[in-house]
Amino acid sequence: MNFTTLKEDLLSVAEEASRVARKRRISEYEIFVSSYSNSQVTIQGGMVNANDGVSEGIGIRVALGGKVGFASATGIGSDSVRFAAEEALSVARTLDEEDKRFYGFAPPRRGGKEGITDKKMLNITGEKLVSETGQIFSCAMDYDRRVVSVTADVTLNYGGFAVANSNGVERITRSIACGGSAEVTVLDGTRRKTGFDFIAERRTPDFSGLGERAARNAVDMLSSESLGDSEKMKTLWEPLTAAQFVDTAFSSSINGRSVVEGRSAFAGKIGTEVGIKELTVIDAGQMPESVATTSIDAEGTPRRDTKVIEDGILKGFLFDNYYAKIYGTGSTGNASRGSFTNPPTISTTTIAIKTGERKKEDIIAETQRGILITGLVMGMGHSNLISGDFSVVAPNPFLIEEGNIKHALEPVTIAGNLYESLKQLTEIGGDPLLTPFAYTPTLTFEGFTVSG
């Protein structure tokens, strides 16, 4: 896969697929072709696992009136193109009922910008990935004598996807991203703790300090004590942890499919108050620095920024072409696919929370009693997105008393409701961080049950 000729390469596959479709007299079709080079070096406690390959494939949707079929194949050679086209057609023919809500594939629309594309990253060699991973690993291992294990990895991904359809859409988007992470385990007597940190960037990342930060996060936990109680209390979520929370809270509730199909708690609540008045949320599809940013979505519709909540009032949902029609609006450019093997569905891009004033340290200084939640929590992904009930385990929490971090805590459980939480916010911090989950500052909530 060659990044510089990717545009021509993918569009020529799309063109070949369009020709196959037209030859079979298919008047409505949509082609999705993707190609990504993925290199990853992982050092797990000294063992090296290195993976370097190209993932490519094609997915085709065919519509015979309201009968829509989809099929996909790995690879972008002629046999894959033919397989996907033929199978999609045969699925469409199998259907005995039309989908009366299907009004065709996405119309062509102008606009949509690429995120930052730093072509210098294409010169990062396998050796460089290996030496960077080795550096993160060593720095973490050497940070403290109680470090017993480090897993470090560095990844470099580049490539893109093209979308073409019978309405004249013919677009491609490309991206390059590099990331790294470190997971550290420390042991002191029988006390075992973990720490984590990571970076994901569209520019050549600076990995210095990453290993040390992960190790420090683990070492800090060694002095942990048990909370020894269950109580409703104030919780401060550091930007990374807050991003994980926010990503989960908005993944289904503002998703146009959940709204239309009767599975969103926010359905029918446009124009009403769903959060505190300081809360403004956008789906920032065009944030140049975010690794989630592309010029188009998975149907070829331009990406954009969409207002979700403004001053606490629910303003809008996210749509692809299909659900936008049913809801009676236009696509917000939020069609996405896990990969070429999936037909489009709807997902957020980068949820961005409007930043407040104070940094984490200042908020802590005015907290009488609360819990600071750092790192990643466990079980966020197991939250009930329909009812909004969540119940997570935080492995790296700290107790705050009288304006100070008193000590680290043994793992605590935190439970509450994702959708009610937006009204339980007591402060939105002024220290935003961009992560692949979301763009958010420190968030403070009152009313979750903490137990440990």
């Binding site: 797990q44 370097d52 390959g53 194949a73 996907a84 989908d99 409703k232 199909e261 997570v392 459980t413």
Partner: protein, 458 residues
Amino acid sequence: MGAQFVEARLDDLSLRTLIKENEQIKEINIVRRKGVGITTYWDGVVGYSYSARLKKDALRECVRRSVGIARSSGKVARLKMDFERKAARKAALTLKCKKHPRDVPLEDKKEMVDIATDTAKEKGENVSSVLGLYGELSGNKFITNSDDSEICWETVVIDLAVSVTCKDGSGNLMDAADGAGGSFGLERFSKKGKTPEDFGNNAAEWAREKMKAKKAPAGEFRALCDNHLSGVLAHESLGHLSEADFILSGESPLKDKIGERVGSEHVTIIDEGVVNKEMEGFFLPYDDQGTKTQKTLILDKGILESYLHTRATASKLQGQLTGNARAVNFTFTPIPRMKNTYFTPGDMTEEEALETLGTGIYAIRTAGGQANADGSFLFKAVRGYWVENGEKKYPLKDVTLTGNILNFLVNAEGATEDLEIRSGYFGGCGKGGQWPLPVGLGGPKMLFSKVRFGGEMQ
């Protein structure tokens, strides 16, 4: 190119998904997944590359990338991985089932989804959404390596599920789901308790029950975990932490604990490739390095017996080959993963277990779980009851159960006599970016003297 060992793995699989949402077929998805993965060993370092292009020049490029990245990695490897060469082995295996998904027309699968969703809709109360899912994966895996082994086996897994969302009086949404999956033919869905009607009825009934459910409390309580939830517990508590890469790397608290007690005498955990056909396990006769899968006794009456190995970890730790090298698809290198992991049954009936529970929480069904290298883990129950003096008092909402491997399984007080193992096409296990890998999990109903619940205060 200088590699000491090469292994090629070809996936030739087809995946089909059918999704019906509120009386409309929303998706019929057919995927062909065909590609090759090349593992090379170069001076104790594993290199991996893959390609969906199967022409000679593409394969050569694939081998070059695999060796290239292994060779560049040599200098940072503090732990070199080698393994014993084995005698060549040739094998080809298929799974016998009456109604192989390959031979059943799409219409019949659609009809099952129709029945499940129609039943759920009809029996449900204040239904705001019904979702029906059918999925299948089938095809062949081929492995050949420098030992001249040639292994081919057929993988099949199917799944049928229905979920119902209802609205209660105050407009709050709640949901419940039922279904079954595993390596079997579609004849399984005619079995009593496993028909599309049964799934629709259960989902509707449990959603109705949830409208009356209270929030589970927070803190430590006596607990009875049903068969599904026990399976997730076996998987998350002991399963992951006995995967040998975590042992070698020092991440797992079970390192150097072979022969030590980590559970009470009531806890025996097995990880097995091919389970009894009556169960709903995942059929895994060989792993992704062509090793025949074993019935591995991980925990024997509370004593740690074995880790879960790939060829390289078995050699390094002088363990038995267990056949746990698995990759989610051809774009990944095989790493230690579970097969079908389950608690062995005890001798109580459900009534006896509830009676012995006395006062506490009966936690039922699951939405999965997660484990961490500090030994902590969580597993999520999606239904449950508050029990007083052996009697179910009222239903509970979703709740997280949590603990630490080093002091959790010692609290097991007993198990019921009924064993269930399940797997499926939807969902699966995730590790190192490899998700969703089909695994089986199960057990009897397990009774614990103390479990921390991440519930809410009223």
